[in-house]
Every structure is written in structure tokens, then in C-alpha cells.
Amino acid sequence: MYDKGKIIGGLAIFLCIASFPAWYMAASGKADYRPNPVLPVSENQCVESAQYMREYHMQLMQQWRDQAVRQGDSTYISSDNRTFDINLTGTCLKCHTSKAEFCDRCHNYTGTAPNCWDCHNVPPAQAPPQVTP
């Protein structure tokens, strides 16, 4: 094998650079960082269980969207037989009063940018500052 030293050396340098994000995070002590969304104090149960909401809230919201807009039925019956009005601003944000402290924390962490808020209103207290035309 020719140029053994160069090849192994090169591979080692490559591995160092490729694994930079992992060991940099470990070295800076942020490896165990978790987003910490602020949960509502007024309620202790969302429309479904917390685990289900964590994993499937996007699917649930799409189901809500289709049911309310396409089928004209805006009543959701949860798996434990409670009824809710399908309304992002009126129902979700009634308990989750701060979009910035709830929705945005995880979305920013995972680098997702859902476009719900392009149209759906965030009640004024938490609305981002408007650009004057």
C-alpha cells in the first residue's frame, strides 16, 4: 500500500472535521440541551394525551383543518369523549397563551418553520411587531 501515512492521516483529519458538531457540542456542555416549552398552568390535559400531542400534533392539526374547512364540521371529539371547537386561535391558543414560549421553542430547536401563523392570528399581546407599510 502506497502513501499509507498520507491516507490514514487524511482520513483522521476528515473524521475530525465531520464529527466537529458532535464533539464541539459535548465540549461546550450543550449536548444535553432540550427545548423547554412553557406549559399552561390553567389546564393539565390537552385535547389528547401529552405524548400523543408531542408526536402527532401536526397530523391532528391537518385532520382538524380538513374536517373544519373541507367537511364544514368544526367539532372535534377526543378519544376520551370530550368535545372541542376546531380553532387554532380560539382553542389551542386559549391555553397555550404564548406562541413564542410554547410553539416556537421546539420549532426553532428542530429547525421547522410551519406556516400556520402566516394567516392564523396570534392574539395581539404576543403578536410579532408589524412592519409598517
Binding site: R65, V69, R70, G72, S74, T89, G90, N115, D118, C119, H120, N121, P123, P124, A127, Q130, V131, T132, P133
Partner: protein, 257 residues
């Protein structure tokens, strides 16, 4: 049969026949479309929401815009202040603009000066629905021609198809142009078409459309177009006009001149 040849000529013949057979299915589908059947048979049975606009009672000519203001307020319709980018759900125009086909050589004096409220006609045979490539707009069973903003890709075919100019397009983010945002209805975003929805969200809550509620002169009547209802009595008891009814769109906003 060893001398039977599949020659060039019969190959071409069979190919042409095969292609013809492929074309038959779409042609049959086209003439058996339910929308065409519905258009030919008139309004479907069951619930059929409609509006009657009494032009004699309407005070738009005196500068009243209560209905327009109410509609645009509850639906967060922006005021962009630029005619090319105007968003209008409900607006008022002159008689000859609203009814170009009624613009006779001599129009009765009272009619000539009347202002006419114009809005989406919620057609029974809506051309906007036919052309929408994503089914973002569709006709509900109760007659409302709905818009699903989630699905709109902003191609504006619907705007080209609508003979009434009832649709508007968001050329820019409308939010900065909405004076006070009403949280009861979402705003729209750039690149989405929009129009009057007969206050579908208010009907679901058991309310009348915002324009009907705001009208103090009783010019607007809204309801199910079945015998016995207020709107049916009004329309069936006197001469009425519909905008460009000759196009066969079966508009459901009736004007009582």
C-alpha cells in the same frame, strides 16, 4: 397460417384504433360530468343558500357602506389603497357596471342612479370551481362556493374564469394593511386568492352574514331558497335580476330593482 403476415399497413391501422379507444374514455367522462348535469337541471334539491338585494331599499347611493365595512372588518380584508391590488369581498358599483346587459338605451331614471352591491354570486355552476387545479375552491352541498386557503397555489385561474370579478388576489402580505385584526377569522397570506364566503364561519355559529346584520335599511335578505322562507318569498313575488345570468353560471344573488 404460416404465410399470414403482420404487415406495416395493418400495424398502423391497429395502432390508430388503439389510440381511438384510449380517447373514448375521457370523452365519455366529459359529457357525463355531474356538474354539467346539475347545470342543466337547475338548482339542486336540498339546502340552497341565496341572497336577495333590494335595490330600492339600499342606501348605498346616499353613501352608506355599513355592510361593506362590517364584512371587511370581520374578515380582516386589507385596505391596500391601490386599485390594482385592491381586495374586495363586497363592494358597490353603478347600475350599468353591475348589469352591463341591462344597460339599455334608456334606463329608468331611478335605476340609472342606483348603486349596486356586488359580491360573489355563489353560482350553482361555478366556473371558478371548474378551473381550480388544486380543488382549493369547491361548491358545498348548501351552495356556498368555498375557498380553502391552505390549498390555493395562487395560479389565479379562478380570477380569469369568474365573469363577475368577485375574486381578489393577495399580491403582498395583507397583514400590515389590516387596521385591526379580528381574531375570529384568519388573515390571508401572499399568493392566495380570496372572495366572499357568505360568512360561512358565522352561519356555523348560527349568525346571519355580517353584511345582512349590519344593514339598517333591510335591503339584504339571506337564507335557504326553499318555498316559505323570507328570501324565497321576496324573489318569487317580484321581478328580479341576476348578474350575467345568460352565461349559465346560475348565480344565487338576486337583485330586486
Amino acid at each position: 397460417m404460416s404465410d399470414m403476415k403482420f404487415d406495416r399497413r395493418s400495424f398502423l391501422k391497429l395502432t390508430a384504433l388503439g389510440l381511438l379507444a384510449l380517447a373514448a374514455r375521457p370523452a365519455i367522462d366529459l359529457i357525463s360530468k355531474p356538474s354539467i348535469a346539475r347545470a342543466l337541471s337547475g338548482p339542486a334539491t336540498g339546502k340552497r343558500l341565496a341572497m336577495a338585494v333590494d335595490l330600492k331599499a339600499c342606501t348605498a347611493a346616499d353613501g352608506c357602506v355599513a355592510c361593506i365595512a362590517a364584512c371587511h372588518r370581520v374578515h380582516n380584508v386589507p385596505d391596500i389603497g391601490n386599485r390594482k391590488e385592491d381586495i374586495r369581498w363586497l363592494s358597490e358599483v353603478g347600475y350599468n357596471q353591475a348589469f352591463p346587459d341591462q344597460d339599455n338605451q334608456l334606463v329608468a331614471e331611478p335605476l340609472k342612479d342606483r348603486r349596486v352591491l356586488i359580491l360573489c354570486n355563489h353560482c350553482d355552476n361555478p366556473p371558478c370551481v371548474k378551473v381550480c387545479p388544486t380543488q382549493a375552491t369547491w361548491r358545498r352541498d348548501d351552495g356556498i362556493v368555498m375557498m380553502d386557503y391552505h390549498r390555493c397555489i395562487g395560479c389565479r385561474y379562478c380570477m380569469a374564469a369568474c365573469p363577475y370579478g368577485s375574486r381578489s388576489f393577495n399580491w403582498r402580505d395583507p397583514r400590515p394593511y389590516v387596521k385591526t385584526i379580528d381574531n375570529g377569522y384568519p388573515t390571508r397570506t401572499r399568493g392566495v386568492a380570496e372572495k366572499c364566503n357568505f360568512c360561512e364561519e358565522r352561519l356555523a355559529a348560527g349568525l346571519q352574514p355580517a353584511c345582512v346584520e349590519a344593514c339598517s335599511s333591510g335591503a339584504l335578505t339571506f337564507g335557504d331558497l326553499k318555498p316559505g322562507t323570507g328570501v324565497h318569498k321576496l324573489i318569487s313575488s317580484q321581478f328580479n335580476l341576476r348578474r350575467k345570468a345568460e352565461l349559465g353560471t346560475l348565480p344565487q344573488v338576486y337583485y330586486l330593482p
